[in-house]
């Protein structure tokens, strides 16, 4: 007779345990896609990729023979790769007699040798092309020449190496040895990176003329831009795209938070205190809203003071322009003819040159070497490196987050983005190691975008507001009263069973 009751209780428990509980857990569980945590961590810890930058340098000497040239190239290559302070690079030198003609190039630096009688060897960089011109005495020793060339090439890449080391420093990708030379150099690089915008594939440039009175109310900006800014944007557009818009704003007043310019009786000038520079741009009233569309906006503000307040200068230095880190540049213009309603392209020349200077700093172009093409390729490498670093650290953060917050959901889109990120990172790393820097940059950019998208997935955040405690609070009124008789009956039955066993024994 006692077994009927037991069977009933067992049946209840079987239904609850096999049907009820799994169904309840299934309906209230959070969807968590599988993430390749191991891969993510290996990227975050810098194990997945070894940063190295092979540089292909081509030697060209029309006056040197094929054999001598190859020998020279070998000598330079040996010397270069022996350098201890450029260990991130591996140099590959090739010798080619013929001058390159095709526009497609597969070298990073061309060393062009030309003979010149009775001179000490000297070298100079071309300012647009990645070409190092070396003049040498035909009678000089090959070894000396090789040493000289390697020294020159070293100076070309020295700054870039320093900044790459700086980038890799304090990350798991660091090569172990801190080669950054001096504290001074570090501060300089620090300033450069804080000044520059984060890399984006599209930048919007906004040129604004702010006039404190009603004139000048127009400027010949189209012509000035074509003359001074477009030539710079053309080479830069290989790395990022740019859109330009301009505006004129009249009656621009200072923000009340700054002291404003003071009149200096001795010089007859109006002086702007250095402390006022950070609050000079009146963000509340000046319409400098960012442009629509993806990508950050770089603002260039030209401020024309009123006749009563000119000439306006910065106190102590006497300068008229400054750069606002990660925002843009400001230039004060005290026109010679204050009554004129229009600023001509000639008036704007100096302004536009300053803005061009600001622009190079804001997109992060390195200040050295002299050649723009070399600076650009150096920027490509730096950007690709920093994007890989940031994407992998985002991956690491995402991996830690998913482990820490067990109650957040992980939608499939996040898993997909993570997979894409890892694939792109692999590709970027491979590109970097094989010297395809442009392709490495574009892959690294996509990887970074995907990683950010995965990390900031909005549907992940929503789940945080329904933690397990909340679930318990809702279900306790149902599950509590149901569980009590079940458990009590089971306990009682167990006790009885034990008692029966003791009795029979």
């Amino acid at each position: 007779m006692g077994w009927t009751r037991r069977w009933i209780i067992i049946a209840f428990w079987v239904v609850v345990a096999c049907l009820g509980l799994p169904y309840w857990i299934w309906t209230t569980s959070i969807h968590r896609s599988h993430l390749p945590l191991g891969m993510m961590n290996s990227w975050a810890e810098g194990k997945a990729c070894q940063m190295s930058y092979p540089l292909h340098i081509r030697l060209s000497a029309p006056d040197l023979g094929e054999q001598a040239g190859s020998l020279l190239a070998e000598g330079v290559m040996r010397r270069m790769n022996e350098l201890t302070d450029l260990q991130l690079y591996t140099f590959k030198l090739s010798y080619n007699d013929s001058l390159p003609t095709s526009t497609e190039r597969d070298w990073d630096l061309l060393v062009l040798l030309s003979e010149e009688q009775n001179t000490n060897p000297e070298a100079s960089l071309r300012s647009w092309a990645p070409v190092l011109d070396v003049r040498y005495d035909p009678n000089s020793d090959t070894n000396t020449l090789a040493t000289f060339i390697s020294q020159e090439v070293r100076t070309v890449f020295e700054y870039e190496h320093e900044s790459l080391t700086y980038l890799l420093n304090d990350t798991p990708y660091a090569t172990g040895k801190d080669t950054t030379s001096s504290l001074e150099g570090k501060t300089r690089l620090d300033a450069r990176t804080t000044r520059a915008f984060k890399y984006a594939s599209m930048y919007h440039l906004t040129f604004s003329l702010f006039t404190s009175s009603a004139s000048p109310s127009s400027w010949d900006v189209d012509e000035a831009l074509n003359k001074y800014i477009t030539p710079l944007l053309q080479p830069l557009s290989k790395i990022s795209k740019f859109t330009i818009n301009t505006q004129v704003q009249l009656h621009a007043s200072f923000s009340p938070s700054i002291a404003g310019p003071m009149h200096d009786a001795t010089s007859g000038k109006w002086l702007l205190q250095k402390t006022d520079l950070s609050g000079f741009v009146n963000a509340a009233e000046w319409p400098l809203s960012p442009s629509i569309g993806a990508g950050p906006t770089i603002n260039f503000v030209l401020y024309v003071p009123s006749v009563e307040q000119s000439p306006l200068e910065i106190a102590e230095t006497g300068g008229t322009s400054w750069l606002v880190p990660q925002w843009g540049g400001v230039q004060i213009l005290n026109p010679s003819d204050m009554q004129s309603a229009t600023l001509s392209a000639g008036d704007l020349e100096q302004v536009m040159l300053t803005f061009a200077d600001h622009l190079t700093a804001l997109v992060g172009l390195p200040p050295s070497p002299q050649s723009l093409a070399l600076r650009l390729s150096s920027l490509t490498r730096e950007r690709a490196t920093s994007l890989i670093l940031s994407a992998s650290s985002t991956l690491g953060a995402l991996a830690r987050l998913t482990l820490k917050l067990t109650s957040i959901s992980i939608p499939d889109s996040v898993a997909k983005s993570v997979d894409e990120t890892i694939a792109r990172l692999d590709q970027a790393c491979l590109d970097l190691r094989e010297g395809r820097f442009d392709s490495a940059l574009s892959n690294a950019r996509i990887a970074n975008d995907e990683a950010e998208r995965a990390f900031f997935e909005p549907s992940m955040v929503g789940q945080v507001y329904f933690p397990d405690e909340h679930k318990v609070a809702v279900y306790v009124p149902l599950l509590g009263p149901m569980a009590v008789p079940l458990v009590m009956a089971a306990l009682k039955e167990l006790r009885k069973l034990r008692a029966a066993k003791l009795k029979s024994a």
């Binding site: 209840f12 109310s217 818009n245 004129v248 809203s289 629509i292 569309g293 009263p481 009682k492």
Partner: protein
């Protein structure tokens, strides 16, 4: 001719008819009309143009950059945005300014022509980009204009621009309304920021949020349109910003530091000496005659600061360059400080030009005038009202009354946007008319022939209903438009925080076709009814948790009783074994009885009552007795049963259930 001149505000007419100006141009203008002695209408108008090439190249001068970028991004060729607050009192104020073309229904209204390339989905995406960016620009909740608030009118709006259409380019008109948006200062500030002088100089310096939003009626509009001259000259893009307000003179002239109305000092009150009780100590205030005394600086809180003359002035065309026009009878005295004034040829409108100086403060003041200054205002084309009829939570009816006061018939287009939760029964749509002069109210109204109907039914939660009806109102008659509707029940999460307030239904837009002859399409005027408040059945919002608790309790109760019936054994009260607790309770009771001494009887009595209850309960358990007896343990239970009754005799049923161990 005179009438038409008065009806059309000078600048509107000017810019509408002569749209070609070669260079980027900006002009502004303020039109003032005192209405019925107590109210002042002020219409601000700011127009700037830019050439299409500069617009395409993103070189902005007087055209606001932020707006230009939004339009280019969303590929909108023409944009009309309205913010409105208050009600225009047609009975006393007459026809609406600018033929109602520059005003909107209460809240926010937006319509735009958007490039149709890429199909409906692309257009909807652009529209959504447009409303979202405008929302950010104007600090308004425009981003709530989604599919459920967007319609595509066919007849009601015509493009104001003249674009040189290139082959294949098609524009799509989308119209969205947000009736529950409260227009306020935060919308005026971005509006002023779009102006070249930013409210710092010129007439825009009069626009102050405190005064503008204290007005009885106010509307702001932004209209962008392309203008292509007939010749091969370059196309222009024009942005026209208007702000129209009707200010209560007395209210707006209160000093700002002391806004509480107080009685005037007795010395300033003019006494009516005609009263027989007038004496040295009594004063009956004389009713003010004629027009009130007012000045710009008092009404708007500050005088006009400087001027905003930006266009290069060619000496050849210096005429029509005035900033302020004032419409008062010619015999009125007007004192203008620091302004050049002139009169129009018919002496009706005075024109003022602000001085070029940057800091000069200019003012207009009108002293108290004894001659009644109010001229007869032109009659509006129509009087329109709209109400919700019916009662209850389920059904209702819409009832619009349109009265034509003119001796000629007028063709109109009636447009309504209805939210999806208001479901109209279109078969009940009735439009009939009755002549104004008919005395006999019982006379059967005559049906009106509906010339065209465009109707888009709603889709729940994704599309709004559009009703567009075209018909003619006979001369001097009143048309009634009625239909019934059903109210939908919303989902729990779809109610706004203030659900019991009701839901705003956007104003109906009435377009009166060509009431002014000879002006063609431009002669159309618009009238908007007031917006409506629709009460919907609102649930009790604590319901979900109550439901959870209640169902949980019911399920647990049901489960518990069935489970217990199945697994528990029922025995007689006498068979209950003595539990460890029972002895304790009995001892305590005995102790208590001793303590109370004389009251020992009480303890026994209580025990007896408990026993009776226990016996009653045992009756129901009798059926289970056989089971229990067979179990072998029953004897043991029976021996201790008496004690158990004394101890636990509080409730018989509990006793029975407790016995099954």
């Amino acid at each position: 001719m005179k009438l038409s001149f008065l009806l059309a505000l000078p600048t509107t007419l000017l810019t509408l008819l002569t749209p070609t100006l070669a260079s980027p141009e900006y002009n502004e203008h303020l039109h003032l009309i005192p209405l019925s002695n107590e109210y002042l209408y002020a219409g601000f108008n700011f127009t700037s143009t830019t050439s299409q090439s500069a617009y395409r190249a993103n070189n902005y001068r007087y055209f606001p950059r932020s707006l230009g970028q939004i339009l280019q991004y969303s590929r909108a060729s023409e944009l009309h945005l309205r913010f409105a607050l208050g009600r225009w009192d047609e009975e006393t104020w007459g026809a609406r300014p600018r033929h109602g073309r520059r005003e909107g229904g209460t809240g926010v209204e937006l319509w735009a022509w958007i490039d149709a390339e890429g199909g409906t989905e692309a257009v909807e995406e652009r529209w959504s980009a447009l409303v979202n960016s405008l929302s950010g620009l104007f600090c308004a909740s425009l981003n709530f204009i989604d599919g459920t608030k967007t319609i595509r009118p066919v007849l009601s709006f015509d493009s104001e621009g003249t674009s040189r259409s290139t082959a294949g380019s098609k524009q799509l008109l989308l119209h969205g309304t947000l009736a529950n948006e409260v227009v306020c200062t935060e919308n005026l500030t971005p509006f002023l920021k779009l102006l070249p002088c930013k409210g710092k100089a010129g007439i825009s310096s009069l626009l102050d949020g405190h005064k503008v939003f204290d007005a009885n009626w106010q509307t702001m509009s932004i209209d962008v349109r392309p203008i292509c001259p007939a010749s091969d000259a370059e196309c222009m893009i024009e942005v026209q910003q208007t702000a129209d307000v009707v200010l209560d003179l007395e209210r707006s002239m209160r000093p700002r530091d002391d806004p509480i109305p107080r009685p005037q000092p007795i010395a300033e009150i003019e006494c009516d000496e005609g009263k027989h009780y007038h004496g040295g100590d009594t004063c009956y205030p004389k009713r003010k005659q004629g027009a009130k005394r007012w000045s710009l600086s008092k009404v708007f809180g500050s005088p006009v600061i400087g001027s905003c003359h930006l266009s290069e002035r060619n000496d050849g065309e210096a005429e029509e360059k005035w900033d302020i026009s004032l419409e008062v009878p010619s015999e009125h005295i007007v004192e203008a400080s620091a302004m050049q004034d002139s009169l129009t040829s018919d002496d009706q409108i005075r024109l003022y030009r602000l001085s070029e100086s940057r800091t000069q403060r200019s003012d207009l003041s009108l002293p108290h005038q004894y001659e009644s200054g109010s001229r007869l205002r032109p009659q509006p084309a129509l009087y329109a009202t709209r109400q919700i009829t019916g009662h209850g939570q389920e059904r209702g009816g819409m009832h619009a009354v349109l009265r034509n006061p003119h001796p000629y018939a007028q063709q109109i287009i009636y447009l309504e946007t209805l939210p999806w939760f208001l479901r109209p029964y279109m078969h009940t749509l009735k439009v009939n008319h009755r002549f104004n002069s008919t005395e006999d109210k019982s006379a059967r109204p005559v049906d009106v022939f509906l010339e065209k109907i465009f109707y888009t039914p709603a889709i729940d939660r994704s599309r709004a209903t559009k009703v567009e009806v075209m018909f003619t109102i006979p001369p001097e008659s009143t048309v009634e438009l009625t239909y019934d509707f059903e109210k939908a029940v919303l989902r729990y999460t779809e109610y706004p925080p203030d659900a019991n307030r009701g839901f705003d239904i956007a104003a109906a837009v009435i377009r009166v076709l060509g009431s002014i002859k000879g002006l063609g399409r431009e002669g159309d005027s618009y009238i908007r009814t007031t917006s409506l408040l629709l009460p919907l059945p609102t649930p009790d919002f604590s319901m979900p948790y109550n439901v959870i608790i209640l169902t949980s309790t019911v399920i647990a109760l049901g489960f518990g009783s069935i489970f217990n019936l199945l697994v528990r054994r029922f025995v007689l009260v006498e068979e209950i074994p003595k539990g460890p607790l029972a002895g304790l309770v009995a001892r305590v009771k005995v102790g208590l009885g001793k303590l109370r001494g004389g009251k020992g009887e009480w303890a026994e009595g209580a025990g007896g009552a408990g026993g009776a209850g226990g016996a009653g309960g045992a009756g129901s358990a009798n059926r289970a007795h056989e089971d229990a007896a067979a179990d072998g343990e029953a004897r043991r239970a029976g021996q201790t049963g008496v004690n158990g009754r004394v101890g636990e005799g509080k409730d018989g049923l509990t006793n029975v259930e407790r016995k099954d161990r």
